[in-house]
């Protein structure tokens, strides 16, 4: 399946992915309107220290632990292999956060559990972080295992 | 304005016939063949070249010249006398017909180069003669050598080709090969020297088309002593023919491989030997590649070569009947020359039709 892959070598630590993610999932057509004066809760985040930067978002694991630990059945893998969350089912127990080895699951200010769904559910159609990455540090492609 | 003062592209009709057995025949049929192609010309130029027409003087250079006046004729004759023995000097016989007017002085000389002059110039007689032609045409205003080979001659004028043929009484000449040309220059001036065939020594070219590579070809060939005084495609082709066939000793087929070189993609599919040769030609003679539409007939002693540009952007048909081979812009012209054919075909772009007269028969 096509996944988002991160190439640390090319990550500039610009954090644009975070803003593009937050914007893409805001449901608002204008970035300024969507993000101005707001604390963003993107589904991808940049970790950095010294000269190292890289972005982290859901790996859409082959055998995702988050799904194994989900107590409500909110997390599932769709036919394409995308790990998605059904907010109607999620009760916010954060078991997924306890299990995700990559620290990819987050919550917004309302404690809604957020995770990357490859922009399949918003109007982008393809991951906004990838589209907006200025240096192809984040790519969306099929990688042979 | 005359040819030479501006770049003169033109469209045209061409025809040729040759006997592989070396039988000599009159120009009557080829003159007739130009009639159905009348609309390919516009009356601003026509001409013929005949090979094997001067058997009596076959060892001498036959110079055909136009002179604007007697003074320049005198000067040229002085110039020639210093370099050649003039075996015969005569006016070229013509018929007075209403279609051809304003003729210049038209003269021919049969010339034998002076050995002492050749020795001091350290040149072979062909190169020496080519330089003489180049000199007259470049430096002697009012004189123009339009034919300079042995046992062959070009005849040309302003007018429709069928009229030009009658004007020069070519029905009374006999040769083993004839080429002809009807001209449709897209710039108007008609100057007798600008008509086809164009030639140097025994190489003549009749040409239909307009080569877009003209200046690239010209600037290349001019590095080797040629002066393109007329700025016509045909002139540059004639010089290229002289350069490749005479000076570089290439065969007509090899010349075709240079001026209508196959595309790289075609070369890549050839045998290793062909690929090497074609690559070599395209590398060293890249500036002689001719692009743009053309169909030409290059005449030379003992044969001729017809060739289309590699995209075949101009029509050209070939046919065989017994020992005769015919070439023309249109099949209709061939049918005039020979109503019956053994074979008739349209040569592919870049594929030369080379016809050589049996060895010893010319």
């Amino acid at each position: 399946m096509k996944r988002v892959y991160v190439h640390e070598e090319w990550c500039l630590g610009c954090h644009l992915c975070e803003y593009n993610c937050a914007f893409a999932n805001s449901g608002i057509a204008d970035m300024v309107k969507a993000l101005k004066n707001k604390k963003i809760t993107p589904r991808i985040h940049v970790e950095e220290g010294g000269k190292i930067h890289y972005a982290v978002s859901c790996r859409h694991c082959e055998d995702p632990l988050c799904i194994k630990g989900c107590i409500s059945g909110a997390l599932t893998k769709d036919d394409e292999g995308v790990v998605t969350i059904d907010h109607n089912k999620c009760v916010g127990c954060l078991s997924c956060m306890l299990l995700c080895p990559y620290g990819c699951i987050t919550t917004d200010e309302n404690e809604t559990v957020l995770k990357c769904e490859l922009c399949m559910k918003n109007s982008c159609g393809a991951p906004a972080c990838v589209q907006g990455c200025p240096n192809r540090a984040i790519v969306y492609e099929e990688v042979q295992e | 304005m005359r040819e030479g003062q501006f770049r003169n592209p033109s469209g045209c009709a061409i025809a040729a016939e040759i006997s592989k057995e070396g039988r000599r025949f009159s120009a009557e049929k080829i003159i007739e063949s130009m009639i159905p192609m009348h609309d390919r010309s516009n009356g601003l130029g026509g001409g013929f070249a005949g090979y094997g027409i001067y058997p009596k003087y076959k060892d001498f250079y036959a110079f055909h010249l136009f002179f604007d006046d007697r003074h320049i004729k005198k000067d040229v004759e002085e110039y020639l006398k210093e370099r050649y023995e003039i075996v015969l000097s005569e006016e070229i016989p013509t018929r007075k017909i209403p279609e051809i007017t304003d003729e210049p002085i038209i003269w021919r000389y049969f010339l034998d180069p002076l050995k002492s002059v050749l020795r001091s110039a350290q040149l072979d007689e062909k190169e020496f003669t080519a330089r003489v032609v180049m000199h007259i045409n470049t430096h002697m205003k009012g004189a123009y050598v339009f034919s300079s080979g042995k046992n062959m001659g070009a005849f040309k004028a302003v007018g429709f080709p069928e009229d030009v043929g009658r004007f020069y009484m070519l029905d009374e000449y006999k040769g083993y090969a004839w080429t002809s040309h009807g001209r449709y220059p897209t710039n108007t001036p008609g100057w007798w020297g600008g008509s086809h065939p164009f030639g140097l020594l025994d190489y003549t070219v009749v040409h239909n088309g307009e080569i877009s590579s003209y200046d690239a070809n010209r600037r290349f060939i001019e590095m080797f002593g040629y002066k393109c005084t007329l700025q016509t495609d045909t002139e540059v082709m004639a010089y290229i023919a002289d350069f490749l066939l005479r000076r570089k000793g290439l065969t007509p087929k090899e010349m075709a491989e240079i001026i209508a070189a196959p595309f790289w993609t075609t070369i890549a599919k050839k045998s290793e030997e062909d690929e090497k040769r074609l690559t070599y030609f395209r590398t060293i003679y890249s500036s002689l590649l001719m692009t743009g539409p053309f169909s030409i007939v290059v005449g030379y002693t003992g044969g001729l070569m017809a060739l289309n540009d590699r995209l075949k952007l101009r029509s050209m048909v070939a046919a065989e009947k017994d020992d005769m081979v015919y070439i023309a812009s249109e099949e209709t012209a061939i049918r005039i020359m020979t109503p019956e054919v053994d074979r008739i075909w349209s040569p592919a772009g870049g594929e030369p039709v080379i016809v050589n007269v049996k060895e010893g028969a010319y």
Binding site: E62, L65, N88, L98, G103, V143 | -
Partner: protein, 412 residues
């Protein structure tokens, strides 16, 4: 091949997944005591709270059993005959098996209490039916007394708070979540719950009941309308024990989820299995383990060969915005070193033994805690990177670029 699965919870359906990943045709019979398709048991409190709807609690789509060719038999197993390879139901029906998986889970434990029979509205809290029953018993003015301040009791309290008048939780232990938290952590949680409107009576429990009045050990009296008994659970293993199977506090299984009896497997809350963080077998009655264990059992029953060899206990619970997570072994004993990080309303405690993180408790700042869990599960050698840099802010930085290239730049 004839598979029989006793029980119909998450472990059971994962077992079906496991079997079907290898054997598409074998016959599968599921014997279910509850008359519901497998559902997520932890949702029963969220159902009360209104966060989960009844139609959303199933573990699998409604056509799951049909699609997987399972026959579901409603009934309770009373005996296994390991020699004839049959199970006997309460109804007397006998069902033969080639491979058997026990996923019977556990049942509420209610000790004998004087006067309990005089209480009109008393409930345990382990099944969705319990939730339905409680729901029909309460009004918006009900006073609810919950006995037991463990996970079940407190989740019940959370579920009920907004639907009843008052909720009081009592426990003999002096602190909430006594099996998980120490005094200090428990105090944080208790304070938060009190702020959220739950009353506590700790170090204290009902001595006896008199109708709707509980007489407490300390002599005080609590009047209530609804009583919930959340004193703990016991695994449902009687029939297995009777058949001579090895049990500790639950059915003992190996890493392939095989019991001591040939062709009998077990998974879920009814098993005791090796805890790598602890270094011994114990009950780890947790959903991820039930899912992984059930699937492991299923695959092995169908002839596959996989192991579940990194089980650790782990838990994530939250009450009204205060989250706590635990994993591994976090009792401060057995020679483990503790590293503590405290923030405002948050505590992180890490337990390190033999250069390995064997467990942690986090209250409050639970962001990206999975990175810690991963260290516990993988028994990662802490000398290989700078663990201290992860304490405040868990991330992938201290791991090598090569490692990240694998995890972030490849398929995992």
């Amino acid at each position: 091949m004839k598979y029989v699965i006793i029980g119909n919870g998450p472990a059971a359906v994962s077992c079906i997944d496991g079997i079907r990943s290898i054997d598409k045709d074998g016959e599968i019979t599921v014997i279910s005591k509850e008359n519901h398709p497998a559902y997520f048991r932890p949702l029963i409190s969220y159902y009360l709270e209104g966060k989960s709807k009844a139609e959303n609690i199933s573990c699998r789509p409604s056509d799951f059993y049909e699609k997987n060719g399972c026959e579901v038999v409603n009934g309770e197993v009373t005996a296994i005959d390991k020699d004839s390879q049959t199970v006997t139901l309460k109804s007397g029906e006998e069902i033969a098996y080639d491979k058997l998986c026990i996923c019977t889970g556990s049942s509420p434990f209610v000790p004998p209490m004087q006067g309990l029979d005089t209480v009109d509205k008393k409930f345990t809290f382990l099944t969705i039916d319990d939730s339905y029953a409680i729901e029909s018993a309460i009004t918006k003015d009900s006073r609810v007394l919950i006995i037991g301040a463990g996970l079940i009791g407190l989740k019940c309290a959370e579920g009920l708070r907004d639907r009843v008048g008052e909720v009081t939780v009592c426990d003999l232990a002096p602190r909430v979540l006594s099996s998980i938290l120490d005094d200090e952590c428990a105090a944080i949680v208790q304070k938060h719950l009190e702020n959220c409107g739950i009353a506590f009576s700790l170090g204290n429990t009902a001595d006896h009941f008199d109708g709707n009045t509980a007489h407490m050990k300390d002599g005080s009296v609590i009047d209530f309308d609804v009583l919930v008994l959340a004193l703990g659970v016991r695994p449902n293993i009687g029939f297995f024990k009777d058949a001579g199977g090895d049990c500790g506090r639950a059915i003992i299984v190996d890493n392939s989820m095989q019991t001591s009896i040939e062709n009998i497997y077990a998974a879920g809350d009814c098993v005791e299995q090796y805890d790598i963080s602890f270094g011994g077998k114990r009950i780890m009655a947790l959903l991820p383990n039930a899912n992984i264990g059930g699937r492991t059992a299923g695959v092995n029953m169908a002839g596959g060969k996989i192991e579940f060899d990194n089980a650790v206990p782990m838990n994530s619970i939250g009450f009204w915005g205060l989250h706590m997570m635990t994993a591994g072994t976090y009792a401060n004993d057995g020679g483990a070193e503790m590293i503590e990080e405290k923030g405002e309303n948050s505590v992180k405690r890490f337990f390190i033994k033999d250069n390995k993180l064997i467990g942690f408790i986090i209250i409050g700042d639970v962001k990206s805690a999975g990175i810690y869990t991963n260290l516990v599960r993988n028994q990662t050698d802490l000398t290989e990177f700078d663990f201290t840099s992860l304490i405040k802010n868990p991330n992938l930085l201290p791991f090598s670029e090569k490692n990240r290239r694998k995890t972030l730049g490849g398929v995992v």
